[in-house]
């Protein structure tokens, strides 16, 4: 599984406007709605589910990155949005540091294994120092997309 298969190019927000966790989640869900990847009538439901998952433990696993995620009924295919924040967001992360890069992953409820695979791929990439550094420095959608494609090219076949 590759990052570019999961992330929607049209749902990359290189300069997040929001400053709180809840607002960032809403901003990224809106990006997916605008990209036509998520139906607008389930927007609220998705935001509530993502925040509900955050309450079970932050998905900010340290080093300035977070992967909020949800398995949702009514979603057709797996999709992710990427957001980069210049000022940092309080995600109540494991290391208590602000989060600068956010991958929001939404998957159909019927396929938990695919959801898990996608989480692993995103985690593996975000665990790389260089990937994190370049992502945080990205100011344009193209910067992020190039980074994702480069990372996919370097990925060893599973």
């Amino acid at each position: 599984m590759k990052l570019c298969d999961i992330v929607s190019r049209d749902a990359i927000v290189a300069g997040l406007q929001s400053s709180t966790r809840d607002e960032v989640v809403a901003e990224l869900v809106d990006a997916l709605v605008r990209a036509g990847k998520v139906a607008s009538n389930i927007r609220e439901e998705i935001i509530a589910s993502v925040l509900e998952r955050e309450r079970k433990g932050s998905t900010g696993f340290g080093k300035g990155v977070a992967i909020p995620h949800v398995k949702q009924k009514g979603v057709k295919g797996m999709v992710a949005a990427v957001g980069v924040s210049e000022s940092g967001i309080d995600f109540n992360a494991l290391d208590k540091q602000p989060v600068y890069s956010v991958f929001l992953l939404i998957s159909p409820a019927e396929d938990p294994e695919q959801h898990l695979r996608a989480m692993e791929v995103i985690f593996k990439n975000l665990s790389q120092d260089n990937f994190r550094r370049f992502l945080r420095q990205a100011t344009q959608v193209d910067d992020v997309w190039t980074l994702l494609t480069d990372a996919d090219d370097q990925q060893l076949p599973a």
Binding site: R53, K56, V70, K71, L94, E113, L116
Partner: protein
């Protein structure tokens, strides 16, 4: 009666009182009444005017045993206070524990004066009941019925652990004022920070010293580890007090250092100190109950009731609101923090100070303090759960696992067993264990499903409601918690 008969009778009476305390605590907890009140009531029942007929009016002994019990309770509180809670709440809690205590003492003294008490008794009373009680606050907030919003809960808990020093300092000054007419002067404003700083420094030194020793020494028997940590609790109090610092703060700081660092035999230590804290709480409240004479409570009940209500509805809310202004908390959180100002053992122990100093009328004051404490604990305890729900400050509480699976190692080992509650929102819910690519050195080891224990096999599918025990290396925790959510305490 001659020995060993008299000791046997004493042990039977205490044994029966303690057994009754444990037996009835669950029922009381359900009603929301702090269990400490039950222990107090049983103590009164066992006293010279109750069924037990135990004659006990040794205030010096009560003070000494009460102090030891408080040291043990605070040590347990520190051991269980996570660094993250401390960091998040230390500023508001610190202000409440210093300026807040001073303000509450002053305001309550004025109210007591207005109710007809002499200034010297009014000031004593204000100082004595100015701090909230760690044991009572922990008991109601961690009672298991409800989980209060994290920021509010940790502020209240940390406040209750660090505000006793201030009450002690104020009470000592008030006793001096009452006995020698030494005015309470500006020197107090210097003494307070100095005592707190010395207490904190001694606590840090004892905490880090004990941690280092436990990690480098080879202790062959697990049972000796709690002896070492108990020694650290006593040393922290004693050394700080002799160095003119705050002993209670020192104990809390030393325990927090120990609890937040790598320690051998940690799970065992936590359990032992939890039990010691409960034992201390039961014994201390029973003993303080024994000191009380119901016949002396009746004359002070009117004033006591008014002061208890004034403390809950006036003094604490005003002071807490002012102290929390700079933090811009929502009014619901400020109101809730104002409300949970539960008083407990500390005021009753502090009320023995003036009696020991031989201040006339101080036994009456002791009973007045007792009344205020009971009113405070009763109204806060009973109203806590409905209030938390009404103010929407309750957070979902992951169900506690019916099984405790812990690793107790005599040496520091690289790895730990963590437990996770499987919620439908988690990535691992509905997948087989073999589908989860655990890091090389980590693995699921046990699943608790209802009343069944399941061996963690590859073909086991994780279901909502399961408790999963995962052995993991500290460096693998970010990945594990991304998939399994937040670890829960056992």
């Amino acid at each position: 009666m001659t020995e060993p008969g008299s000791t046997a009778v004493l042990l039977i009476v205490f044994g029966a009182l303690m057994a009754a305390s444990v037996f009835f605590s669950r029922a009381l907890n359900r009603l929301g009444v702090p269990v400490v009140l039950l222990f107090l009531a049983l103590g009164i029942l066992g006293g010279s005017e109750g069924l037990g007929g135990i004659e006990f009016n040794n205030y010096e002994l009560a003070f000494r045993l009460g102090t030891i019990a408080l040291v043990l309770i605070l040590f347990d509180g520190g051991l269980n206070t996570a660094h993250s809670s401390l960091r998040r709440s230390i500023l508001p809690a610190g202000i409440l524990a210093t300026v807040g205590v001073l303000g509450t003492a002053a305001l309550l003294a004025v109210i007591a004066r207005l109710l007809g008490l002499d200034w010297k008794y009014a000031i004593l009373l204000g100082a004595i009941v100015s701090s909230t009680d760690a044991a009572a606050v922990f008991a109601v907030l961690r009672g298991g019925n409800i989980r209060v919003k994290e920021r509010v809960r940790s502020t209240l808990e940390v406040e209750s652990c660090v505000n006793d020093p201030m009450a002690v300092i104020l009470t000592v000054a008030a006793v001096q004022f009452a006995s020698t007419q030494t005015p309470i002067g500006l020197q107090l404003l210097v003494e307070i920070p100095v005592q707190l700083i010395i207490g904190a420094i001694v606590g840090l030194a004892v905490g880090y010293g004990t941690r280092w020793l436990l990690n480098v020494m080879t202790i062959s028997t697990g049972g000796l580890f709690p002896v070492a940590t108990l020694a650290s609790a006593f040393l922290a109090y004693g050394l700080a007090t002799l160095a003119y610092g705050s002993g209670f703060l020192s104990v809390f700081v030393a325990a927090a250092v120990l609890g937040n660092g790598p320690l051998p035999y940690k799970a065992g230590l936590t359990r032992v100190h939890d039990a010691i804290a409960w034992f201390s709480q039961v014994s201390m409240f029973l003993m303080l109950g024994l000191l009380v004479y119901p016949s002396q409570l009746i004359p002070v009940s009117g004033t006591g009731l008014l002061l208890g209500l004034a403390l809950a509805f006036l003094a604490r809310p005003i002071v807490v609101t002012l102290c929390l202004l700079p933090f811009r908390w929502p009014w619901r959180e400020v109101s809730f923090t104002s409300w949970v100002g539960i008083r407990g053992a500390v005021p009753i122990v502090l009320a023995t100070f003036p009696v020991m100093a031989g201040i006339p009328g101080s036994e009456q004051l002791f009973h007045l303090v007792f009344f205020v404490v009971v009113i405070s604990a009763l109204i806060t305890g009973v109203s806590l759960v409905p209030l938390t729900k009404r103010m929407k400050l309750a957070e979902p509480n992951a169900p506690i696992s019916p099984v405790a699976l812990e690793m107790n190692s005599l040496r520091r080992m690289h790895g730990e067993v963590r437990v996770y509650h499987i919620d439908p929102s988690l990535a691992v819910c509905g997948v087989r264990l073999s589908q989860i690519r655990f890091p090389e050195e980590s693995a699921a080891i046990l699943i608790v499903r209802g009343d069944h224990l399941l061996a963690a096999r590859g073909n086991t599918t994780l279901e909502a409601g399961d408790h999963v025990y995962v052995f993991c290396r500290p460096e693998d925790r970010p990945f594990i918690e991304l998939l399994f959510g937040q670890t829960i305490s056992q």
